[in-house]
Amino acid sequence: MKDKITHELHGNRGLLRLFTAGSVDDGKSTLIGRLLYDSKSIFDDQFEALQRSSESRGEERVNLALLTDGLRAEREQGITIDVAYRYFATPKRKFIIADTPGHIQYTRNMITGSSTANLAIIIVDARKGIGEQTCRHTLITSLMGVRHIIVCVNKMDLVDYKEEVFEKIREDYESFAAKLEVTDVQFIPISALTGDNVVDKSIKMPWYKGSALLYALENIHISSDENQIDCRFPVQYVIRPQSDKYHDYRGYAGKVAGGIFRKGDTIVILPSGLQSKIRAINTYNGEIEEALPGMSVTILLDDDLDISRGDMFARPHNQPRIAQDIEMMLCWMNEKKLTVGGRYILKHTTQDLQCILKDILYKLDITTLHRIDDDKELKMNDIGRVTIRTTKPLFFDAYRKNRHTGGIILIDESTNETIGAGMIL
């Protein structure tokens, strides 16, 4: 792995969603505060409020970490307990940061924060090296299908900016990550506290030839993260104007979950298996020729068929898998533990179904990657491999092929809470 920076402006996306996890003392909040502050995304009144709170807490310098600790309980306890979203922009890109706590008891928050991310920032304390937490965060990143990782070796100021320290950590990390499905990894030596290599390149580490963190974030190429091949369109809502002007209008509204849909394409409708042709792809701003992944559009068909929310459009020769017995990695998110035989509501794309938890195959030790076969109880924050059976056939793809058609949530029938997140295998 090299510090390769893909500098391709053409076709590059203007919005990068990133995810970062960390614990109280590894400097994560300071790093985010530093990114916001040095990229001039902090306003004067925010900064003044920060100065006031830092002073009232008797801290000697302005505590940038306070910027991201939003809720009162968190400010009082000095911890981040939920997912907070931060925004900043440079002339090149807009960034959304999902900021999550890093301790093992917040695994579910990390799963949530990383579910929509393109890139993960993994922070390693230069003095401590690769620890249990680094491994856990990397595993979650890999499991959640986040394709790009930037490992920030932080607190370089406390190890005299030594190259050997950085290189040792890089080697350790690479040998660990080789076991995982992680393809694009960059390493950057930084000091969040002093700002070295965060926004501006540090003069204290001339041995480091790569770029500063912000430059890497601005230039990383993410266009290929969406599945551009397998056409999937879950019908979200049927638009029927019932007006004189649009008397026979029947539009299928939804967001493209994969592949490219074009006017004139033959499609198959699931679960009915009927086929039709795309007559038009509409948006409020007019008709368009093709709809790409992530676009919210309205599709009109040549034939008048009985289609409703929860149905899916695909191509006749490229259809999703259809099954009722489904295997997945499941992260449990509730205080009530998961039970074999339990009935849950399953939410997948635009449909809700009922399902039964058939079996827990094994629990995953999310630090070592080992399977735990003798303890099959999934408690809050545990991840395990399970099988479920749905009451109706589900059409889906493997999560690693498509996040939108491969991810599900489980809902408790009595409390309506979201209690599990599943990645279909």
Binding site: F43, V83, R86, K94, N109, G407, T418
Partner: protein
Amino acid sequence: MKKTSGMGVSNSHLRELESESIYVLREVAAQFERSALLFSGGKDSIVVSYLARKAFFPAKIPFPLMHIDTGHNFPETIEYRDNWVKTLDARLLVRYVQHSIDQGRVKEEKGYNASRNLLQTITLLDAIEELKLDAAIGGARRDEEKARAKERFFSHRDEFGQWNPKNQRPELWDLFNGRKNQGEHFRIFPLSNWTELDVWQYIKEENIPIPSIYYSHLRQCVDRNGTLLAKSDYLTAKEGEEYKEYRVRFRTIGDMTCTGAILSAASNIDEVIEEVAASRLTERGTRADDRRSEAAMEDRKKAGYF
């Protein structure tokens, strides 16, 4: 302090944000039976209603716009509201804070800083109960304020309309869980991932009309602790306070009693974007209601405020 400029920024992120918001609005129509879009006449609720028009076009927006009217509006806002509703071909419902006061449901604040801003919450919760709403859509954004940074797109409220920040449902991918028990409802925030600058750039790109008071004009104001408050029948001047004419515009639109004007010569959308991009204060820095305490917004949200 912000160097991000409206110029030269690639706007492809706006298309992504638009698609996401349209997706959320369609989920609302699909998952809820009785929803309403909370409309204040401010730029954020204007953009949400415009996106709703896009989401269901060529059909009409399948839920009404609802204005919680404090009675302390800028007249320009009301004029704009009535025209905009016609443009959108939407249905408008209005519920009045004055009615809540007349019925003894709430007590008017007294004193120089009296505002009806907090009272809106009761009128809103009463309207939700009266209309049996199960979803209320709003224009709040996560970048506005730190308590909002943790808000969900689908935010669950208990039967008392209250928000419990410690027991929020995890929100993964684009799977939004809107299931609820009788009497509970959801607040929905389609603009969660937009920033103030995104909203302005989008208004420009889509050429969306906005109330005239967002642009520079001459107005009689009083300077109270650094906040310029507009002269109106609802504001009581303190002794020694003096109205002067300023060239101002408004960066947010709320009640006349608590929305501060800013000195500005920005008279068109490009100048406004330039000013927002160069601004050294957050937009809520002009809101007297947020200054009451460090956790002011969190406390109001727990009680059911938007």
